[in-house]
């Protein structure tokens, strides 16, 4: 349901932009960090067990997770400094 008065006052498009960007970035960064930690932990275990394939897979997961975190930070700063 849409409120006609609120439509005049509230900039819904901007508000929705904040909501989706906040949700995506906030959850995405935590997932990426969790994946990086999972990768680091499992890679260490696999290395200890001498499992080369798992070591490579989880090391790649660690790097990907970390890269996603760093990418999110850089993207955030680029978006902030760019003018619409």
């Amino acid at each position: 349901m849409r409120l006609p008065i609120a439509d005049d006052v509230v900039e819904w498009d901007l508000l929705l932009q904040v909501i989706w960007a906040g949700l995506a970035a906030g959850i995405g960064v935590t997932i990426a960090m969790s994946v990086a930690i999972l990768g680091a932990t499992r890679a260490a275990d696999a290395r200890r067990d001498g499992d080369t394939l798992d070591t490579i897979f989880y090391s790649a997961l660690f790097v990907l997770g970390l890269a996603a975190c760093a990418g999110a930070v850089v993207l955030g700063i680029v978006v902030m400094t760019s003018k619409d």
């Binding site: 509230v10 900039e11 906040g22 949700l23 959850i27 499992r42 260490a44 978006v79």
Partner: protein, 368 residues
């Protein structure tokens, strides 16, 4: 000449507000890092100060909203801006004194709106801007941060829940250096811009700038410096409330709360909403806690914080309006009123600081 004296007092008061904003608000940013022992208190505060300074240079969208979207710049005088600032500073100091993390941003907006209302009546207040750019985002931001942090921590536990706690904690503790840094950067960009916006509003009201102008470089640099200094100097009591009295957090919760808070504040800053970092990080902290265990959140403390939130805009508006009424007795163009109020304000602030510092020791990691 007299108007220039008023303008100098307004700029000085705005920078003092910015300092108290850093002093009062930014501690919230580092509370989670300290609570989870990701950083030592002094390192965390220094780091936050540096990134607040840098964050102030990221954007000007919020400054534009404050300068031209809340009150009618044509009807406002520098004296009105001064009264609004004093209202905000007074409310900030009261809540700081009692350890309540209320919103400096809403205190500032409330103060300016109250002073403009008393000076020029309802016509001076842009109610559409006040509702659309302040009130609605004020409700949405903490809720959004709560939901985002709650969902983020559930995903995190799902992914790393079976791993060794020691390794997971170490990982998130390192991650918190980045998430805490982003939160400080977000705070700097949103909050320093409010001071830039208010100084710009005063410059427009004085005729120094034309309506719709961006803040001059000296305004940006001085606002960034004031908030960074305020951040460095303190806010230990607030750290204590935010870091441990709401909830005891693990490092994953700290990371998700900071990540969610930073994401929401940066997104809002980008579109020009003058958000409260206090509201947002409090929402995120509560979300990260409640998702793990609802009873882990100390809802009584959270209730006190919500009470301070609700009270902030009306209370700061009342003080700002009262100051405007006092100052206008001396005439709208007279510098006498602002000089008297500024002198009394400085004296009372010094007294409050001295009394507070005598009563409360600075915080150490062990106390958090």
């Amino acid at each position: 000449m007299e108007s220039d004296v008023i303008l100098v007092i307004v700029v000085g008061t705005a920078l003092a507000f910015d300092f108290t904003n850093g002093f009062h608000d930014t501690a919230n940013v580092v509370a989670t890092s300290i609570s989870t022992r990701a950083m030592a208190p002094r390192v965390a505060v220094g780091f936050a100060a540096l990134l607040n300074f840098a964050g102030a240079f990221l954007s000007l969208a919020v400054a534009a909203t404050v300068a031209s979207g809340i009150v009618e710049a044509d009807l406002v005088t520098p004296t009105v801006v001064f009264a609004g600032l004093v209202g905000a500073i007074t409310w900030n100091l009261i809540t700081w004194y009692y350890g309540l993390p209320s919103s400096s941003s809403h205190a500032l907006i409330g103060g300016v709106v109250g002073a403009a209302f008393v000076a020029e009546g309802a016509d001076a207040v842009l109610s559409d801007g006040l509702i659309g750019k302040v009130a609605v985002p004020a409700l949405v931001a903490p809720t959004l941060a709560f939901v985002t942090a709650a969902m983020a921590i559930l995903f995190a536990y799902r992914i790393v829940g079976r791993e060794s706690p020691g390794t997971v904690n170490r990982g998130f503790r390192v991650g918190q250096i980045a998430s805490g840094g982003m939160l400080a950067l977000a705070h700097g960009t949103n909050d320093a811009q409010k001071t830039m916006g208010v100084i710009t509003l005063a410059l427009i009201a004085n005729g120094t700038l034309s309506d719709g102008s961006d803040p001059p470089t000296w305004v940006i640099v001085s606002s960034a410096t004031a908030i960074a200094l305020g951040t460095y100097v303190g806010g230990w009591r607030i750290i204590r409330t935010m870091g441990s009295r709401i909830i005891k957090m693990d490092t994953a919760q700290g990371f998700s709360a900071q990540g969610a808070g930073a994401a929401v504040i940066l997104a809002a800053s980008h579109v020009g909403f003058p958000l409260s970092t206090t509201h947002t990080i409090s929402g995120a902290v509560m979300g990260a806690g409640a998702a793990k265990r609802v009873s882990a959140v100390r809802w009584g403390v959270a209730g006190n914080i919500i009470f301070a939130w609700v009270l902030t805009i009306p209370a700061a508006a009342a003080v700002g309006g009262g100051i405007e009424a006092v100052v206008s007795v001396f005439g709208d163009d007279s510098a006498v009123g602002p000089i008297i109020v500024a002198t009394i304000g400085l004296g009372l602030s010094a007294w409050a600081f001295a009394r507070r510092l005598r009563r409360g020791p600075t915080l150490t990691t062990a106390e958090v």
